[in-house]
Symmetry: C2
Subunit: 228 residues, 2 copies
Amino acid sequence: MSKVQSLNMRLTATEENYLKAIFKLSEENGNPTATTNAIAAEMNTAAASVTDMLRRLSEKDLIHYEKYKGVHLKEQGRKVATMLLRKHRLWEYFLVEKLKFEWDEVHDIAEELEHVRSEELINRLDNYLGQPRFDPHGDPIPNADGTIPTRQLTPLSTLKTGQHGVLTGLQEHPDSLMRYLKKVNISIGTKIQVLELHEFDESVSVRIDDERDIELSEKVSKNLLLKI
Amino acid sequence: MSKVQSLNMRLTATEENYLKAIFKLSEENGNPTATTNAIAAEMNTAAASVTDMLRRLSEKDLIHYEKYKGVHLKEQGRKVATMLLRKHRLWEYFLVEKLKFEWDEVHDIAEELEHVRSEELINRLDNYLGQPRFDPHGDPIPNADGTIPTRQLTPLSTLKTGQHGVLTGLQEHPDSLMRYLKKVNISIGTKIQVLELHEFDESVSVRIDDERDIELSEKVSKNLLLKI
DNA sequence: ACATATTTTTAGATTAATCTAAAAATATTT
DNA sequence: AAATATTTTTAGATTAATCTAAAAATATGT
């Protein structure tokens, strides 16, 4: 019998969002646990509200929680979180590829769409889209069984002069970064070569697609993940 | 200045559902007002909950409500209700035409999708689908300005022997009716001709697409709307 | 038109999700 | 290790949406 059974309890969108936040803060960032304050910051709520929610998620056996000791997902909670990621990223793919939204316009809409409850819907959508493995921001789309495709990507900021790679993912992607990248005409698939490193502010001169040169700040170069 | 301005208050999904119910019970059914009990039945809630909600919707100026006198939509409320219908029906069209769902499987999913808040999304979806005027059940899809295409349709139950028409809409469409129609292979576009009327139970013998004959009960024949 | 039935509203609780302020636990610094 | 700072939890309120039970208003029937 499979260890991964389909969840038979109804969660509210809020509960789902907390699980997503915990996933991001622990597993995705490689930390053992997520702390109350970190979750509060991620969710834009008061710490007291987080404590309350942790108690409830713990009662539902979705997370492991001990007072003052932080929190991490149990198997069921992890399943919920990865399914949300799957739904979010498939919807983003749909919005960009089919409805022709720009990649900096889709996050908030996908944030609502991901809470629509139907396994059938998401699997049909997946097929309709041709089972894409990465979303428009280069983020991996979890499979129906919860596994997440992994890749070996290198931040632009760690390359030496002369090295190059293809932009394949982003570390974080606030809309502000994506609007910036759109303005300087860089997107997933763009070739980037390091021309010069500037020690003073850690900025870097790069050649884009072998045809034009620009300057990127440290903050930007840390966010660009390349396939070497 | 246009009388129809875009709504700047955030409504909850529940508030939206009440407005939809009031629209259905008053305007769509041609009644001047909707009553508390009728809304309670439509929403599957206690009458007391309805009274409470009517007070709040009235405070927001979305409905006209006087105690014990029933309720009807004001302009803003009507706008919200028709936009929900527009969203619901466009999503149903998407689910059936693009994701290949059956017409008896889409209602509940569309019920969730219709609450996703984005005008841009729904207008892009409309264009992507080719601006359809009717959904998979034959219901008219309201336009972006709130107007609703009308047609002159005749219930099968009012036809005389020998008359025929094309199935173009349904009076009501519970999933049970749609599963039945699927089973007997009748759908929007099917030609139906009256062969014989049975006075006793108001059932009717009909010829389908000029090639096979079946019996339809009174309840079914009242629900089938034909273009003569 | 009065008694009875039905409908609607009010009163008082409950649950989920949130808040602020205060208390308790844990971590840091000198 | 004591004092101080930070983090987390508890206590107590609030809002939206719901309920049941009782009261009030309206409608119906003889």
